[in-house]
Amino acid sequence: MKEKPPVIDIRDVNFRYDRENVLERINLSIPKGSFVGLVGPNGSGKSTLLKIILGLLKAKEGYVELFGVPQDKFKEWDRIGFVSQKANSFNTGFPATVFEVVMGGLVKKMGLFRRPGSKEKEAVEQAVRAVGMESFLTRNIGDLSGGQQQRVFIARAIVSNPSVLILDEPTVGVDSQNVESFYHMLTHLNQDLGMTLLLVTHDIGAITDKVTHVACLNKYLHFHGSMQQFVELDEQELSDLYGHGIRLLDHHHDH
């Protein structure tokens, strides 16, 4: 039996801004149904790599395949849900209700010139229920807390029922009490609904007990494998990867 192609397949990708190389020889494949944590310090090229996957940036060299289709021929963008860093993606004063924001996630799927009907409204309500925000449907997004807003953005990302969900530092700006229930929700999407997840974070400790695979990025991809393999690395190998001492299971930083 032929194996299913990986959801995302990146081969020999290089990227540079002006003269500075940001990514070199990146090879990464995301298997279907996995929960991959992409970790790396600030400035390691994580966001750049995401933008390349999403087609927002073009790799100078290399090759990206989505669902077995070369990226420049890929059309089914509604199969990929994306949740960006909350802070820089929208202005908080924007007068839009939770319902309107989540409906935005169906725009591409509906196609040009079509207007939402009862089917779309139901999908929105269902997605909002899945993230536990159903009692906020008619509230303005700007009136919600950071954690609530991020839930709404997850709802927007999953409303089109994508097979893969990409999250860029989703817990930045979310208070620590809500981070745990936020990850709980992600695990539910991955295990119960079979959604493939690619989560980008600089905080590896926060995700070690949740993800199935880890990729460590710092210009080069230093490690890529299952969580099992990752925890078997010793202290020295880890700090080679990450540049400084890290703790795997304790993610409560002392400040």
């Binding site: 999403l54 087609g55 927002l56 059309k75 963008w77 509604d78 994306f82 960006s84 820089n88 993606s89 929208f90 202005n91 004063g93 924007f94 007068p95 839009a96 209700t97 319902f99 309107e100 924001v101 409906m103 935005g104 996630g105 725009v107 591409k108 509906m110 040009l112 010139f113 207007r115 939402p116 008619t138 509230r139 303005n140 927007r156």
Partner: protein
């Protein structure tokens, strides 16, 4: 007043044009304000002025062209200006707002030169600057109706794309919405609406009709649709009240319309403050 409207064609033209502009200017304005493009509307109106001046000058120099409504020259300049703004915003990626003073001063500079060449064609200019109750022709009215139909149909068809693009441009691009094309359509519509609105509110105040009603609506609206409806309501009240007072007090309607919308804005801000 009602009787006068039935009697005089010029009043019909002014009030019908005004009533329509009162809808479409705040409608587009809602998107303009949330996308932080308010000043672009201002820049385009100044470019439109140089188009009008070019039209008047050409009409003066070549009598054949005097039959062409200068408004159409204004539209051409405005649309051209809107495309140029986009180019400039790409040239100065990190200082995108620079595009605005460049266009604004360029528009006025060119306009002033054209006006000087024509020895300041006294007649119409004042009405183009500040609007007029008496200078709106049947022809102008037809232009307003035509442009408005285009605007209403386009916004109706592209509403969801425009909303997503306004709310979160990065997301719109990431999800594969043709954001460049949608943005282009939007900026051209804006240019056209500015050009036709000028007859009523004037070059210098046209952007006010696109932003002030929205500024008021945003204070109290729940959601974006409600923001649009309230903006249109406030815009319509401003235009009608402004035109009526301009007619009775013999004032330039640009001024009365804008002052009315400022009063509404202050009222809303004050009411919201009291409520809390």
């Amino acid at each position: 007043m009602i009787e006068a409207i039935f009697t005089y064609e010029f009043l019909q033209n002014a009030f019908l044009s005004g009533a329509i502009i009162g809808i479409i200017a705040p409608l587009l304005g809602a998107f303009i304000v949330v996308r932080r493009l308010s000043l672009i509307a201002d820049a385009l109106s100044h470019v439109t002025l140089s188009g009008i001046a070019a039209g008047l000058l050409l009409g003066q120099t070549f009598p054949v062209l005097s039959a062409v409504n200068p408004l159409y020259f204004g539209m051409v300049f405005s649309v051209g200006g809107s495309l140029l703004v986009e180019r400039l915003r790409n040239v100065y990626k990190h200082y995108q707002e620079l595009a605005i003073p460049i266009m604004m001063s360029g528009g006025i500079g060119l306009g002033v030169i054209l006006i000087s060449i024509a020895n300041g064609f006294n007649t119409d200019l004042f009405s183009y600057l500040f609007g007029s109750v008496s200078a709106v022709s049947r022809n102008d009215l037809y232009a307003v109706i035509g442009i408005s139909l285009i605007v209403l149909v386009t916004v109706y068809l592209l509403y969801k794309e425009l909303f997503v693009l306004s709310f979160d441009e990065e997301y719109a691009k990431a999800s594969g919405i043709p954001s460049k094309a949608v943005h282009l359509a939007f900026i051209i519509l804006t240019a056209l609406v500015i050009a036709v609105s000028m007859r009523i509110v004037g070059v210098l105040l046209v952007s006010a009709l696109m932003t002030l009603p929205v500024a008021a609506a945003m204070r109290i609206a729940k959601g974006f649709k409600q923001t649009i409806w309230l903006s249109v309501l406030f815009g319509e009240v401003s235009v009608i009240a402004g035109l009526i007072s301009a007619f009775y007090l013999d004032l330039a309607p640009g001024g009365t319309i804008v002052v009315t919308s400022i009063i509404i804005l202050l009222g809303v801000i004050f009411w919201k403050k009291e409520k809390n």
